[in-house]
Subunit: 307 residues, 2 copies
């Protein structure tokens, strides 16, 4: 039985596909997924009429739904965000419901951006979502809709609220969270990087490798253990930027740290101040989800993948 | 400037309309609202194409959105529930967003059915919704969507999660919660009533009068005090059926109580067991929302209205 990765051209989608090598895979994305031996690669916009039906025509037994317009994009284009993050996901759910004798497992990548301030010191599993972005709103709404479709027996569902993923590959970009990766990835490659916030900023992290591990674990988990509460705060590492930099020093030395230049950016600092810093992730840990426990592990995962 | 009541033919909508006598009112409902002097009464299905635009053509400054297919109806007809409770509400939000220079206050009647078990002894304001019905899911999703539309400046919004309303007027019906009203209203009128659950069952109540008071208070409240968290658990009375019956005894005597016959119903008992029993409602109380503090007050409110 095939597995479908929606968002298959993305950073996590590609890594997940690699981890599922030799399995029957369908990769779908709005940008063409790189060809993979044995995998069907589809370029499609899930929000287009009929696209969801076409994607499930081969009745994938597991659907990893990773596709999204990210936070900045959904803020900049209100209609695009609702169409891509909400309507497209709903179309997928409806296409599944309309297919007779078909009850796939939908593994939905959600986000810690469903939460908004004020935050407790460590966010418990049952804190009410209070998103401060359209992106977070759309993710929280699909979590609820998925839970209802699962309750009614139309599909199986689990939603994984991912930490901020570091170290993201590629070049520095304009995303407000980009610096968390930039200040490691660039110095590790001998290049300069800009830190726009004080090093006292604390945030919640996991590596790309951990994210793929969450998705794999969600595939095999007994979902009756969720008791209808399908959205889980994934485990991660709560760390300050100073701790992040100290780990860089231990792995790559002071010469790497010296490549980081502090250039305060009020706009980025204000955005980051509204982000959560720490989670208990107690339910997810009890269900066997695992993440790194130090920034050195996150850096070493990056170096091993790059090697 | 007119005020619009969507669900204007309903139990709360009609009482609200009476309380706003001499004001510029538009009453809209799928069933024809009873004519009122000075009020425009419209029979319309908000989920029909163009209906939302037509309703706001006179640019009401306050919109009380009380219309819903209730819990049982949304469970029995999945498509109807999503269309009437979700799509119709979204159409209203979109019609508002599409209207230039128009930013009404939307007062949305939500429900304690956004919550699902397991419950703490008293539900705090920041407990995550975990609905166990499509109705509760649809209400929770519109809460989130309203908050995002308010954050973006398209409208002002507040969502009131109403307790179970007692004493409902009319004849006993098949709603699982109906007995809470039946065992008071019928004996007060000298008629027999059936109690389908043990009298140890605890639940969360307010009178129709209190519900109208919530809506009126929401109209005048400074919504900047919500800090973006637009959904509020309304205050109410946490009481057992035994306490309810004891209040009936004090108000109407043992002869009224003797009209209640205990006929256990496993189905109803199972449904009721998944309902919340108590809330802190701390935020709503601090914002000035008020409800009854004893079942005698609830009974006397009913008798005064009937008089």
């Amino acid at each position: 039985m095939p597995q479908l990765i929606i968002g298959g051209a993305g950073m996590i989608g590609q890594r997940l596909a690699r981890s599922l090598a030799n399995q029957d895979l369908i990769l779908a994305d709005v940008t063409p997924p790189p060809p993979r031996p044995g995998a069907i690669c589809l370029t499609t916009d899930l929000s287009a009429p009929g696209a969801a039906q076409a994607l499930i025509a081969r009745r994938p037994e597991v659907i990893y739904h990773l596709a999204a317009v990210p936070s900045g994009g959904a803020e900049a284009d209100f209609d695009l965000g609702w169409r891509a993050n909400f309507d497209a996901s709903r179309a997928l759910l409806e296409a599944i419901r309309a297919t007779p004798d078909y009850r796939p497992r939908v593994i939905f990548s959600s986000t810690i951006a469903v939460f908004g301030p004020p935050f407790p010191d460590s966010i418990p599993d049952d804190l009410a979502p209070s998103p401060r972005t359209s992106y977070g709103t759309q993710k929280a709404m699909i979590e609820l809709m998925l839970a209802d479709y699962a309750r009614r027996g139309f599909l199986e569902a689990i939603a994984l609220r991912l930490p901020t993923i570091v170290i993201r590959p590629g070049r520095p970009n304009a995303a407000a969270s980009g610096f968390f990766s930039n200040i490691l990835r660039e110095p590790l490659a001998g290049l300069p990087a800009v830190l726009p916030v004080p090093d006292t900023v604390r945030h919640w992290f996991a590596s790309p490798r951990a994210a793929v591990g969450f998705l794999q674990h969600a595939r095999s988990l007994d979902l009756s253990r969720l008791d209808g509460r399908i959205a889980l705060n994934m485990p991660g590492l709560s760390a300050t930027v100073a701790e992040e930099i100290e780990a860089l020093r231990r792995v790559a030395g002071q010469k790497a740290v010296d490549l980081i230049r502090y250039e305060p950016d009020e706009t980025i600092a204000r955005i980051v101040a509204s982000w959560p810093e720490n989670f208990t992730a107690a339910r997810a840990r009890a269900l066997g989800f695992q993440a790194e426990t130090s920034f050195e592990q996150i850096i070493r995962a990056h170096l091993e993948e790059a090697a």
